[in-house]
């Protein structure tokens, strides 16, 4: 997994609550058996005016000029601002894969859906939860200052900007550590293989039916 330490980038304000993972990456693109290549279809139904299918040449498709990601001032954005309950719905990890493939590394919202939030950390994405009034302040700041870059520092747990903005955020220590180091969680779990075996031996006496071959 790619490490996350510090990022300075443009932020794109997605003025919606309850953005579901069907909207982030529509189902027809879930048929891929790969982990990469989902970026061009991120927010497909909002981003393009036609109907997208896998295998299409996305560079020739008509863009929806009203969709915020298509506005020239937000090109190259790597930070996404959104409202409550971002990533609700389906557990598809294709949603963080699509965001990451597009170039997004940080999502800031007042709240996230649990499964999506969890999936982000497996893919080097940093979801930041901030109070609604601070998210509101960020929306206004970004919309008022074209080209403004926000700096997200995971080591310091801060978001800063040249305007003098400084926001502190909180994050689980374990998740922060894994992101900073780009750790393989399966490797971490397998380091406890002995304890897993001991647990199984104990359970075989209590719930033997769960171990029938």
């Amino acid at each position: 997994m790619e490490k996350f330490t510090k990022l300075s980038a443009i932020a794109v304000p997605l003025d919606r609550a309850n953005v579901d993972t069907d909207a982030i990456i529509p189902k027809q693109f879930l048929k891929s058996i790969k982990r990469s290549g989902f970026g061009p279809n991120l927010f497909d139904e909002w981003r393009y005016l036609d109907h997208g299918e896998p295998g299409m040449d996305n560079s020739n498709r008509p863009l929806n000029p009203d969709f915020v990601l298509n506005q020239p001032r937000y090109q190259g954005a790597q930070i996404l601002l959104a409202w409550d309950n971002f990533g609700c719905g389906s557990s598809r990890e294709h949603a963080p894969w699509a965001l990451e493939d597009y170039g997004i590394r940080v999502i800031i919202a007042p709240s996230f859906a649990d499964i999506f939030y969890n999936n982000c950390f497996k893919n080097g994405l940093l979801p930041i939860v901030l109070p609604e009034e601070i998210v509101d302040e960020l929306f206004k700041l970004v919309e008022a200052n074209e080209g403004l870059k926000l700096t997200v520092d995971l080591e310091q747990k801060t978001i800063t900007a040249d305007t003098g903005l400084k926001i502190n955020f909180e994050l689980d220590e374990f998740r922060r550590h894994c992101l900073l180091e780009g750790l393989d969680e399966i490797g971490l779990t397998l380091a406890h293989a002995d304890e897993i075996c001991q647990y199984e031996e104990k359970q075989k006496k209590i719930t033997p039916w769960l171990f029938n071959e």
Partner: protein, 480 residues
């Protein structure tokens, strides 16, 4: 020892170790696998040269992509075909049991787990699908995971997890006739909201829940995720044990007696502490129809489409306006006047035998209304299809003008060929009414199987109990 909730008991009995940072290593007894969220997990195992920790803990079936017609001809869409074949190959290579597309036991993963007894009380169960909460109906800790976690569970049968908070949703009293499990869960989501359960594990309890069959309980816990909770669960009782008995993977002989004793402990203790409690009166719940693009946007069949101008929260108001625009609806319209174009009866929420029976009861002796362009019944598994056919339900549907299909996820998420056209309005027994969920531009209204059947035969939303009172054959086969 202090009183524990059902969730506490499930958690504590599966904790392999506590980590210093407040997370735990949680043991997973069962993983269910389908074709969409597993290919990259198997690829990850191969790349890291890892093997499944214990092959027999896993059970697989294709469901999202499978066609519901002409099974013998295989899958027409070449990309879907590759994905299903990839599952077949991965299960073959790693020795995992799979019910393939041509197997009578194939079906929606959340239907076949319980049907086979692969879902058992007191266990932990995961699947790369958010509706894994379904299995919580058995007093099971079951939740959806992403593909990285599918790989993690394949390799270790464990997950690094932080314990959720406890929420109790208690539905007291008895339901009015014609009100079903689907109406209960939609009403609950309407009250607590789609993010109301975020960070919580929900236990559903109370007389109205206890009175439900296992099918009804699965409908309830299935949609816990639509209230934001990864896990929804219901305590073990005689109904649970009776359902599990004799299932293929259920314990047998001496192990059965031992298991029943063990399972009976999986309920919340008297006086157990919940972080949040929501109490509903079952007798106040009316048949529900969702009007918007989020499952919390639900109203009773006798209500009107709400007006965004009455909403004080600015973000919610914008969400309501956007939903009305997408759904092609006007505030103030009575929902029971809305005509429907398509009816879909199926999905992991409502495709079990009891759902088939409830819909057939309404359809019997009636015809699909002229304005309904398509009416689909998609049973949840090959075995349910077989059972329904043995009961003659397929004939009732077909004679009325419904299409009787092969099992799969079908139009719930439209990954196969079954989908809405832009602008089509659908009465659907599925679980999500998000924009584009059933096909780009499609408009989904979530309802119970009886309500979907009633919409099919009248051509518009209507309280199904009005039809239940007079059977179709009594009125010379005409539509009511």
């Amino acid at each position: 020892m202090s009183a524990k909730t059902l969730y506490d008991k499930l958690w504590d009995s599966h904790e392999v170790r506590k980590n210093d940072d407040g997370t735990s290593l949680l043991y997973i007894d069962r993983q269910l696998i389908h074709e969409v969220t597993s290919p990259q997990a198997f690829e990850g195992l191969r790349l890291a040269n890892r093997k499944p920790w214990r092959v027999s803990a896993n059970l697989a079936t294709p469901d999202h992509n499978v066609p519901t017609t002409n099974r013998a001809e295989g899958i027409a869409d070449p990309i879907s075909k590759i994905q299903v074949e990839t599952l077949d190959k991965n299960c073959h290579d790693f020795g995992i049991t799979e019910f393939r597309m041509d197997d009578i036991r194939q079906g929606i993963v959340h239907v076949i787990g319980p049907e086979q007894g692969a879902t058992l009380p007191g266990m932990t169960l995961v699947c790369g699908d958010s509706h894994t909460s379904t299995h919580g109906a058995f007093g099971t800790l079951a939740f959806g995971v992403g593909t990285s976690e599918v790989e993690h569970v394949l390799a270790t049968l464990c997950l690094i997890q932080k314990k959720s908070k406890n929420m109790l949703v208690r539905v007291d009293g008895q339901l009015k006739p014609g009100v079903t499990a689907k109406d209960i869960i939609l009403a609950i989501i309407g009250i607590i909201g789609t993010a109301g359960g975020t960070g919580y594990a929900i236990e559903f309890a109370g007389e109205a829940i206890r009175s439900l069959s296992m099918e009804g309980r699965m409908t309830i816990s299935n949609m816990a995720i639509e209230a934001g909770a990864r896990a929804g669960m219901i305590a073990v009782d005689d109904t649970t044990i009776e359902y599990v008995k004799g299932k293929t993977y259920a314990p047998k002989g001496g192990q059965w007696e031992m298991a029943v004793q063990y399972w009976k402990n999986f309920h919340s203790d008297e006086g157990a502490d919940f972080d949040k409690e929501v109490i509903l009166d079952a007798s106040c719940i009316e048949p529900q129809v969702t009007w918007g693009t989020s499952p919390e946007m639900t109203i009773a069949i006798n209500e009107r489409i709400p007006d965004p101008q009455q909403e004080s929260d600015a973000v919610k108001k914008e969400g309501m306006k956007a939903a009305l625009k997408y759904m092609g609806l006007e505030a103030g319209t009575p929902i029971n006047e809305m005509p429907v174009d398509v009816v879909f009866i199926g999905s992991c929420t409502n495709s079990r035998i009891e759902d088939m029976r409830a819909a057939a009861e309404i359809v019997r002796g009636r015809k699909v209304a002229d304005n309904v362009q398509q009416a689909l019944v998609v049973p949840g598994s090959g075995l349910i299809k077989q059972q329904a056919e043995a009961e003659g339900l397929d004939k009732i549907f077909k004679e009325a003008g419904f299409e009787w299909r092969e099992p799969g996820c079908s139009m719930c998420l439209a990954m196969n060929a079954d989908r809405l056209e832009p602008g089509q309005r659908c009465a659907s027994t599925s679980n999500r009414n998000f924009e584009g969920r059933q096909g780009q531009g499609g408009r989904t209204h979530l309802v119970s199987p009886a309500m979907a059947a009633a919409a099919a035969v009248t051509g518009h939303f209507i309280d199904a109990s009005q039809l239940a009172a007079t059977s179709g054959s009594d009125v010379s086969g005409s539509t009511v």
